[in-house]
Symmetry: D3
């Protein structure tokens, strides 16, 4: 009876989207549940999956809010 928690930033995976779509969430749920079935033989109906979308302002990386850290890395890559 596994519990899988998936934390991702709230943003779109393609231009014009600003969050994870319902189809993508369903694919994540299916995918990770099948990993636990395949690897540990856990029945699908015993696995709970919780997806947490985190606003970009609330996710830090490199000591900075994510958007600033990505910009810094992109600038470093160009120079």
């Amino acid at each position: 009876m596994p519990i899988v928690t998936v934390q991702v930033t709230r943003e779109g995976s393609a231009p014009g989207r600003n969050s994870v779509t319902a189809e993508e969430k369903a694919a994540i749920i299916k995918g990770v549940s099948e990993v636990l079935l395949d690897v540990l033989n856990k029945p699908l109906e015993s696995t709970y999956v919780v997806i947490e979308e985190v606003d970009l302002d609330n996710w830090g990386w490199g000591g900075l809010p994510t958007v600033q850290f990505r910009r810094q890395r992109a600038e470093a890559a160009r120079s």
Copy 2:
């Protein structure tokens, strides 16, 4: 000084509601805090309770989003 985290789907417990009510949240907080007082003798004021409501799309069960899994189970029960 316990911390109790309660994760539930964001939906109503009766027709016409679409989320957990403030009264229900207060009852959960009271109930679980008293469990820790009764069982482990933890003073009420040392227990934090955090309730996390999770959108139905974001909760997976049986390899599916919850709403689809419930429908599948209801259909299986009828047949």
Copy 3:
């Protein structure tokens, strides 16, 4: 289908014990599961409870490891 996570310090609730007993864990599981049945009408078999025991060194309170904070408070209460 709630998930309840209970974090407590790893210590005994009576002299001569140094951890939560199996009976106490069972009472916590029963108690919090019944709260969710009573308040939100969640069937017992849909609730998962996870108990996490945290070493005293790993739990901070008042900016200090718990044992030091408790000693500081006890001394303040005496003076």
Copy 4:
């Protein structure tokens, strides 16, 4: 590669605010990331920080929703 999760109530730190500001979030991210750099020598770019703001109704303390518990304590302090 630490992960730091910071849970706080969703409320302002000064009159006229009702949530944590983007500047305060950035300062929290910077501060806790630097603690892990200073104490454990973890490079900033290997630390993720996730800030979770919790509605006041969803945070319990003293067996009560936070707002009620604070009021109770304030009244006790006055008498």
Copy 5:
């Protein structure tokens, strides 16, 4: 930059084992990281996976410690 937390009971997936093996852990890490690459296009190196093994005594289901709940269900299935 997702974080995936996988909580499972500490027990073997085959007779003679009493915990998840290092190979199984590696397969879980690979599997869930690839789900996030495939579905959300998240680079493998931006995903952290944390596996938490929970002692059977510390996992509750159906209002009971897991071992008791499984026994109860097995008995119900036989009768």
Copy 6:
């Protein structure tokens, strides 16, 4: 009344150590509690800090157990 959870790998920060020391844990607790005091004006005694040490086998990065991922990166850096 913040809760700060710090997850780090269980390993030493210097040769000859294989875990985080009690002194390092106390410094982390002090440091992150002071960040919340400084930034959000949260009193030290209202902050709980929980440190979770995660075995290296149980932490994945880059789709691999951490030790393998670090080795792969070190080899890539040399070539």
